[in-house]
């Protein structure tokens, strides 16, 4: 069986670093791993998706509709966009932060109301105010690692393995802050 984790957010929210920490973790468990990333134009404040797939042998680097075990979402609207990628009993972990896309800023479209409730109706959904926790850890930029902590609680890997993966991936300068962000995410209990 292939495990599938999808990370979605807005360009600049650190989906790349998150998928790389996950990749390092999964590699340390002796698994085959494939990650798919987004670079270039789409990174500039647009919707960004990275895929993490692992198992005995992984072929495609892409997660498709109905395949994801987890969707880790750094923003509400991006979470909503990714819901259909979850398998029936998959789990959505969503940072409740809202970032308005340009069509909303220009007034061409409205930011949808009641997204969280609609998502909760469709699938198992954990809502997290990751922004507050990230600020508590030292920077709004750590939202991604807070959410990784929330994911860690759902998965079977040891905290040691997660910590090790963070240590080998995150630059020294930001390590303490990210370790704190991870710990806050890990402690977070929405249920």
């Amino acid at each position: 069986m292939t495990g599938n984790i999808m990370i979605v957010g807005v360009g600049g929210q650190g989906t790349l670093l998150t998928s790389r920490i996950l990749g390092t973790l999964l590699l340390s468990q002796g698994l085959d791993v494939k990650l798919s990333e987004v670079h270039g134009m789409s990174q500039r404040g647009g919707s960004v998706i990275t895929y993490v797939r692992y198992g005995e042998k992984v072929y495609s680097p892409i997660i498709e509709a109905g395949q994801a075990d987890y969707v880790l979402a750094f923003e509400q609207l991006e979470a909503a966009r990714a819901v259909g990628y979850l398998r029936k009993d998959g789990c959505l972990l969503v940072n409740t932060q809202k970032l308005e896309p340009m069509p909303v800023i220009t007034g061409a479209m409205a930011y949808p109301e009641g997204l969280l409730a609609s998502m909760q109706k469709r699938c198992r959904t954990l809502c997290v105010d990751a922004l507050s926790l990230a600020e508590q850890a030292g920077s709004a930029k750590c939202v991604n690692v807070v959410m990784l902590g929330v994911l860690a609680r759902q998965m079977k890997f040891s905290v040691d393995a997660w910590t090790q993966a963070i240590r080998t991936t995150v630059p020294e300068k930001f390590l303490a802050m990210n370790e704190k962000a991870f710990a806050l995410g890990l402690q977070y209990s929405a249920e």
Binding site: G11, K34, H39, G40, Q43, T106, M119
Partner: protein
């Protein structure tokens, strides 16, 4: 040892292990990280060239002087380097010579969706196509060796999902190679008398390569005892494996030019149905058809965009990949890419929009100026084209049109191929106005240095092209330098330069907000003086939003550039703590 590597990083690793000595490229998504990763290897002479043509020429020269050399580019970059590449095919220089080209099916970051495999056939150059990072390394290594064995340059063709996916790669020790001393060989002067002989050798080489393709390990048959066969290559193989597993037989082609006709015929023999699964053009499909094999190709699969496993499962097995899925949510607002908060380009497009000018666009972050609410780009074509196209428009519409159109081009793109367009305008007595958006970097591809930044790819200080002196040297007499955040001054300068009946260049200078060392102090906020005129909303800044008519600036998104304060007619936007 195994490491998780990006496809592009694996290409770099493969070249390193093959003992590559020279790598010269121009950045272009999705190929950029290959060359960026070469920096990890101290012994390799790696550089950013001003454009792909020069990059290819440097690699060809290094190969002529017996070194293993590589040049990497995106698909449209191959168009720029095509001229030297086609003749390099004839010259067959002695050092292993690899051109690594990354296509972009689905156009994640490109202006078109061309299929570079046609180039292999047109230039008669061997082409390999890896399916993941492990193959990226292995095939790149193999490419150098094949180049020297068969006296040919070799293409390694990637696509976005191969370039930008990570997979496990086994690392091996690099070969240590010293280029043999250079000896002149005048038969390599490509004049007709020599080229006629070289062409004969090229055709002979292709015969040898066709024979090689039949048995080489790069092409692989996987039998699962099925009555259905799939012929595929590159990322499509991975999608097919994902979708169809062991339910079909596979012919996975790692070498896509020249193709192994006998192998294909043998594979198809006895099968009830043969599908050809390939993104973009029916390249493999057409070859199969010339062999008389009745394959199923583009009637079942699209010519357009990326493939996925679900689409293949539906077409071949008649059922979706996932049995049950969570119900998707519909009609959500899209989130297109935008200029970042603090982007220096924003001021330029705000002014161009306000003045209602026609804008001939170019390739870079500033292409985002086409999107709402800035909406100020008429079209774009390719790298450097903003200048020549605007000149052509003035020729078509009459000289007075020169007052209504501007060219907008970045610093790196101007050096790449904008300068020649400007020379054309000066030489042929045009009156166009060209804006060079100098943000001190190559932004869109992720901040590479270029000849105007004063640093090499390794960060070593070097000479810096002086854009003003360069324009002056080619005969532009009217040159101004403006800060794009001083919108009034920029507008005034534009008005003056558009009026002038001679070529003008406006160098709009401010560094990219994402560059290290670019720091703005504080954050801005909206005060009670706001009259809700909406002027600031015309900037399209992701930090500025409006709810029920009330404008606010997100303290998380704002980086403190202050452009909004410059455009507010009521002084209602101020720095936090300034009142």
């Amino acid at each position: 040892m195994k490491e998780l590597l990006l496809g592009n990083a694996a290409v770099a690793r493969g070249a390193y292990e093959a003992g590559v000595r020279v790598v010269s490229s121009y950045p272009g998504t999705p190929s950029t990280e290959i060359t960026e990763n070469m920096v990890r290897y101290a012994d390799v002479d790696v550089e950013w060239a001003p454009n792909e043509k020069v990059a290819a020429e440097v690699a060809i020269g290094a190969s002529l002087a017996n070194a293993r050399a590589m040049s990497c580019m995106k698909h449209v970059g191959l168009n720029v380097m095509a001229d030297p590449v086609f003749t390099a095919s004839y010259l067959a220089p002695p050092g292993g010579l690899v051109f690594c080209v990354a296509d972009d099916p689905g156009m994640h970051s490109s202006q078109n969706e061309q299929d570079s495999r046609h180039y292999a056939r047109a230039s008669k150059i061997l082409m390999l196509e890896p399916s993941d990072a492990a193959e990226c390394k292995a095939f790149t290594k193999e490419a150098f060796s094949l180049s020297e064995t068969f006296h040919t340059p070799v293409f390694v063709r990637l696509s976005t999902r191969v370039s930008h996916s990570q997979a496990l790669v086994s690392l091996e020790e690099p070969e240590v190679r010293q280029p043999a001393p250079y000896v002149k060989d005048a038969t390599r002067v490509a004049v007709p008398v020599n080229s006629r002989k070289m062409h004969i050798a090229v055709e002979k080489r292709l015969e040898d390569l066709r024979a090689f393709a039949e048995d080489c390990a790069l092409n692989r048959v996987e039998r699962h005892g099925s009555r259905i066969g799939v012929i595929t290559s590159g990322i499509s193989y991975m999608y097919a494996r994902e979708a169809l597993g062991d339910a079909v037989d596979y012919l996975k082609l790692g070498m896509v030019y020249p193709l192994p006709s006998r192998l294909i015929q043998d594979f198809a023999k006895g099968l009830d149905k043969v599908y050809v699964i390939e993104e973009l053009d029916p390249y493999l499909e057409e070859h199969c058809r010339t062999l008389g094999i009745p394959v199923i190709g583009k009637e079942a699969f699209s010519l357009i965009g990326e493939y996925n496993a679900d689409m293949i499962a539906q077409a071949v097995l008649g059922k979706p990949l996932a049995k049950e899925k969570t119900e998707p949510m519909e009609a959500l607002p899209v989130r297109p890419p935008v200029m970042c908060a603090g982007c220096p380009h924003r001021g330029v497009f705000y002014v161009l929009h306000k003045m209602g000018l026609h804008v001939a666009g170019d390739i870079g972050c500033y292409t985002l100026g086409a999107n709402a609410p800035l909406n100020s780009m008429d079209f774009n074509v390719c790298m450097g084209a903003s200048i020549g196209t605007a000149f052509g428009m003035v020729k078509a519409q009459g000289r007075a049109f020169g007052q209504k159109v501007v060219s907008v081009i970045g610093d790196s793109t101007f050096i790449h191929s904008g300068i020649t367009g400007l020379i054309d305008i000066v030489y042929n007595r045009g009156n166009n106005t060209v804006l060079i958006l100098d943000n001190s970097t190559t932004g869109m591809t992720g901040h590479q240095d270029n000849p105007t930044t004063g640093k090499t790819i390794r960060g070593v200080p070097t000479k810096q092209v002086d854009l003003e002196l360069l324009c002056r040297a080619i005969g532009v007499d009217r040159i101004s330098i403006v800060d794009p955040f001083q919108v009034k001054e920029l507008e005034k300068t534009l008005r003056e330069e558009l009026q002038a009946d001679e070529p003008s260049v406006i160098i709009v200078q401010r560094p990219c907000a994402l560059l290290k060392g670019v720091r703005y102090e504080g954050r801005y906020q909206v005060t009670d003086d706001c009259r809700r005129c909406g002027q600031c909303m015309k900037l399209g800044c992701p930090a500025i939003t409006r709810k029920d008519g009330i404008v606010s600036i997100s303290p998380i998104q704002c980086i403190g550039c202050g452009l909004c304060a410059n455009v507010c007619p009521f002084g209602a936007i101020v720095k936090e703590g300034s009142r």
